[in-house]
């Protein structure tokens, strides 16, 4: 029996290659994901493994918030200089270096910030005194307070050179000029760790910039042979976090491994989608192989082969194909993983030396590939075993199987899924709404897939109408509708991929519509001053600009917004605090209205909230709350006004006098209303002039602003599309496979058509129409399901602020056009085969 299987396989090479390709691609992506995760994990942790090399102990502030805040110059919780003496006094401590580190801004020769997509890190060179961490390249170390050393990356990014003067400032410190006196490299002769640029100052200069000039440190590095417990005790048990160098390195590495595993999960996700899509292809191929071998199988059965032998023969074929394809996929996956790791290291971590590692888990890809192939072949195998021996004697007329069972099953499953979604959306699942909705979506997905054969009947006829203007088109349409199960399963593969991208695109366009509506319809401003946030770099500008803007011709009013969003608390709960120099004007620009009280000339101890916030916190006009600002200042504030509920102005508004306690006491955005009749572009140009010396922000009009705010989302959609292209490729292979097999099955019919006068071109067109209809069917179904998916997510997130539902029309039309092109391409090989058909061979009987 095995020999018969092998012989049979050898005679169907082309088909096996197509089936294998699907398995190869799926396995390849799964393996590549594993390799990428582990390689990046190793490379990144390798990068920081020596971050504290030679350092025997590290003392840092306890609260995680303080760690984050150090960049914004909050002096609370940092380590006072006196602590250095306490530490040095501990037994065994030879030396202790206080480090001041934080995020700063440097203005490049072009007037813009250096390093747009990664922050500039400032630190005091002295913290490096007892270790050889940074490799000095040239020049001298910073000795005077206006001297700095910079990383090679800084020079490369900015275009500065040794001897140049650089303007540097931070959120808490005004601009100051420094002279570049030296250049250093990071460990391993790297110019940067992840794209960031670095500047080393003297300790006083660093403190001026990053700790508001106070003599405190963000970390202390210890050297010697001591016990961390003793250091902890000396500092007042638990006051600070005391770690060994190794512990600190491990903690850093852990943080980084999150990045690599997130990337790995994304690739794994797409790999699994690819595997899922290939399941359809494999099932289809084996079903057709079995159908074609029906006579052969019947002869075997007639000769006495048992049912189990037939099942085994089909499964043996699956095992052989699955094994070969999976091994191939594994090999290619290792290559892909290596390439991806190199690319990620090069582009995301600017030249990270990749330590290629292949984890044992990669072998799972093999298990997945072989397992999926065999599982997919089970149904066709069992079906094959049901071929009665008498089929050998009959003409191979296979009436299509009735669709009733599969349709009923599909309807039930779809209903269950939809019910779950409905219950979840109407908050009837007792706290498990999200889980309910997600599993509902998954179940409905499976249900709809089961329903595709029955849906294919009307939909294929309808789509076929578009093609029926020629007789060959009509024949193609009839062929596409001939075997609904096969058409459906072929189209399903495409459907899944299209549904996923359409779903994501729908969510994104809903997000965009929500943003655009909030900004365009409600915002009474014409120009917006803002910067695009990149990384941890929060763009701000000097508050004096507001007055300069107000003074411009054609400017009616200016609303400004200051935000304190890290570490601010109200009655012990983390909240985001806002403020404005002129809340009256700002409210007007936003279109917000006051419900109770007054917002004019807010007293220092007053706070303004919206109705919703008041209700949620059970507060009323005149009540007092305890507000803590980022700098640690805590003060009672009285509610002096309540605003009408309104998305754009909801939250906590404090008096401008409190702005000095904000982490960043600078405005982040300004909204400008232009006088009626004024030339918008002229005003915009004037505003630009005012902002000439503000490297972080620019001015945009409303349309540009919406575009700017949502451009990141477009990138997301594009990235997803590229990754899902893999699933689409597999789907295309599926279409090709189905068509090739259909052409083979219909050899005699094609022969007849050619004999009675169908030209080669007509035969070609007939197959192409069939292909396009299958692809369009998959795309239409996918778009439908994707829109449903997007709608469900939008409904689920409506309470979170995703209030608008919008369809990505442009993309939908694109997907339809692409599916037509895919249909044309997929038909190439099968159509050529049909056109080249030897008429005589096709009609001659056996």
């Amino acid at each position: 029996m095995l020999r018969a299987t092998l012989k049979g396989m050898a005679s169907r090479k082309a088909r096996l290659v197509l089936t294998s390709l699907a398995i190869v691609l799926g396995t390849m992506f799964v393996a590549a994901a594993m390799v990428l995760t582990s390689t990046m994990d190793k490379s990144l942790s390798g990068l920081v493994a020596d971050a504290y090399e030679g350092v025997d102990g590290v003392v840092t502030p306890t609260s995680a918030d303080a760690q984050f805040e150090e960049g914004f110059g909050s002096a609370s919780n940092l380590i006072p200089a006196e602590a250095l003496d306490t530490i040095t006094a501990v037994d065994g401590v030879d030396a202790a270096d206080g480090a001041v580190e934080g995020q700063i801004n440097a203005i490049g020769p072009n007037g813009k910030l250096v390093g747009t997509f990664a922050p500039t890190i400032g630190f005091n060179w002295e913290s490096n005194a007892n270790q050889e961490f940074y490799g000095f390249q040239e020049g001298t170390e910073p000795a005077a307070d206006d001297e700095i050393a910079v990383s090679t990356k800084f020079l490369a990014d900015s275009g500065f050179d040794i001897g140049d003067r650089v303007t540097v400032y931070s959120y808490t410190a005004d601009r100051a000029e420094f002279t570049i006196v030296g250049v250093f490299n990071l460990p391993g002769d790297r110019d940067s760790m992840a794209g960031e640029t670095m500047i080393a100052f003297t300790t006083p200069a660093a403190q001026q910039l990053m700790t508001k000039g106070e003599d405190v440190y963000s970390a202390v590095y210890l050297y010697g042979d001591f016990s961390t417990d003793e250091v902890d005790q000396a500092l007042g048990a638990g006051e600070y976090k005391v770690q060994t160098g190794q512990e600190a390195s491990d903690e850093l590495a852990q943080g980084l491994s999150v990045i690599s595993s997130v990337m790995g999960y994304i690739f794994l996700g797409f790999g699994l989608i690819a595997v899922f899509v290939s399941v359809f292809l494999i099932i289809n191929t084996f079903t057709i192989i079995v159908a074609q071998r029906q006579r052969e199988l019947a002869v075997l059965r007639a000769m006495g082969a048992g049912r189990d032998q037939v099942v085994r023969s089909v499964l043996a074929e699956a095992l052989i194909v699955g094994t070969i394809a999976s091994i191939l996929g594994l090999g290619l996956g290792l290559l892909l993983g290596w390439g991806l790791s190199l690319a990620v290291g090069e582009f995301m971590f600017s030249g990270l030396a990749v330590q290629f590692t292949v984890p044992a888990t990669t072998l799972w890809a093999l298990v997945v590939g072989i397992g999926v192939t065999i599982l997919s072949a089970v149904v066709p195998a069992v079906r094959a075993s049901r071929v009665p021996p008498v089929a050998a004697m009959r003409e191979a007329a296979n009436p299509p199987k009735p669709l009733r069972t599969i349709t009923i099953a599909g309807a039930v499953v779809t209903l269950v899924g939809t019910a779950l979604i409905a219950l979840g959306l109407s908050d009837n699942l007792g706290g498990e709404e999200l889980l309910g909705i997600l599993s509902g979506v998954g179940i409905a997905f499976v249900g709809i897939t089961l329903l595709t054969p029955i849906i294919s009947k009307p939909l294929v006829s309808f789509l076929g109408l578009l093609m029926s203007w020629s007789f060959t088109g009509k024949l193609g349409k009839l062929n596409a509708g001939r075997n609904p199960r096969r058409t459906a399963i072929t189209a399903s593969a495409l459907m899944i991929a299209v549904a996923l991208i359409t779903g994501i695109a729908t969510i994104v366009s809903s997000l965009k519509a929500t943003t655009a509506e909030a900004l365009e319809l409600n915002l009474d401003s014409d120009l917006i001053v803002s910067g695009l946030q990149t990384g941890a770099n929060i763009p701000t500008f000097a508050s004096e600009r507001i007055d300069e803007l107000k003074a411009l011709d054609g400017v009616e009013s200016v609303g400004d917004v200051y935000v304190d969003f890290m570490g601010a608390e109200v009655d012990g709960e983390g909240e985001i605090l806002s403020s404005s120099q002129d809340l009256d004007a700002t409210l007007k620009v936003f279109g917000g209205t006051v419900s109770e009280g007054s917002v004019t000339d807010l007293a220092a101890d007053s706070v303004v909230i919206d109705e919703g916030t008041a209700e949620k916190n059970d507060l009323a006009l005149g009540d007092t709350v305890e507000v803590t600002f980022s700098d640690g200042t805590t003060t009672p504030l009285r509610i002096t006004a309540i605003l009408d509920g309104y998305d754009l102005t909801d939250g906590w508004w404090v008096s401008p006098e409190q702005i000095e306690h904000f982490a960043i006491p600078k405005p982040m955005q300004a909204y400008i209303a232009v006088t009626d009749g004024a030339d918008l572009l002229a005003v915009q140009a004037d505003v630009e002039d005012v902002l000439a010396d503000e490297p972080e922000v620019g001015v945009t009009n409303n349309a540009e602003f919406v575009e700017q705010q949502t451009s990141g989302l477009d990138t997301l959609v594009n990235a997803v599309q590229i990754l899902l292209a893999l699933a689409i490729i597999i789907a295309i292979i599926g279409v090709v496979n189905t068509l090739v097999l259909s052409v083979l099955e219909r050899t005699r019919e094609l022969g007849l058509l050619r004999a009675v006068g169908m030209t080669r071109g007509q035969a070609w067109r007939m197959i192409t129409v069939e292909s396009i209809i299958i692809c369009l069917f998959g795309a239409v179904l996918g778009i439908g399901v994707g829109i449903g998916l997007g709608w469900t997510v939008q409904q689920a997130l409506e309470s979170e602020g995703l209030t608008n539902f919008a369809l990505p029309w442009g993309l939908i039309v694109t997907y339809l056009l692409v599916s037509v092109v895919v249909g044309l391409l997929a038909a190439l090989a099968p159509a050529a085969r049909a056109a080249k058909l030897n008429v005589l061979g096709a009609i001659a009987y056996e």
């Binding site: 007329a397 009436p399 020629s470 007789f471 060959t472 024949l475 009839l478 062929n479 001939r482 005699r748 019919e749 022969g751 007849l752 058509l753 050619r754 004999a755 009675v756 006068g757 169908m758 030209t759 080669r760 007509q762 008429v839 005589l840 009609i843 001659a844 009987y845």
Partner: protein, 266 residues
Amino acid sequence: MPLANPPAPTGVLTRTRAAVTATGLWRAYGSGEAQVVALRDVSVQFTAGAFTAIMGPSGSGKSTLMHCLAGLDTTDRGTVNIGETVLTGLGDKALTRLRRDKIGFIFQQFNLLPTLTAEENILLPASIAGARTDPDWLRRVIDTLDLRDRLSHKPTELSGGQQQRVACARALATRPEVVFADEPTGNLDTRAGTEVLRFLRRSVDDFGQTIVMVTHDPSAAAYADRVVFLADGQIVDELRRPTADSVIDKMRGFEQRAPIAERTAR
């Protein structure tokens, strides 16, 4: 069970125009040791408006001859004419068009497209050509074949005999120069076979259709005006106004000679 003798053909012999002419046809398959010569120097004419049967034992080359005459197969040497058209040397496109416009086909099996109704199958060659069929003519053909109430049926809903009658209607619908029938009764029971043969006979008598039929059944050949006998790739004899018995007699003669011919061929 032998079929009843067909009625004697009338009036056809007075017309002598040749619908199909083959001159000096050679056709060989394979090469070297394995070469099989299927046709060796075959010259034959098929009179317009006549029903001709080609007979011969298996492997005699009768199917090859028909394929060459119908432009389905190429010849190594010699020429084939259909009406005024010389087939030899025509490209695929011209041959396809010729088959579509001037030739009708009836095959033994796989004769109809399962996706189309009987009527659509009848109109198939015209539809492919994008041409219209003469409705009066079509009505006549359909009525003669008694298919009127079967037109909207799919092939799977028709009996074998009905299917073959649909195929006959299709072959005649475009009023081709010649209809080639390849064992048209091979897959049918005697009764259905008789119906089809009677129709072919009638289409010659009533419509003046030219028909060339390949068969190995003497009683089917008896419906023809003339039988051409092929053996070992050559035309060895012919018989006018055949009867089943006279055909059987002839055949018996060839079968006795065949082994000798085979021996000399090697």
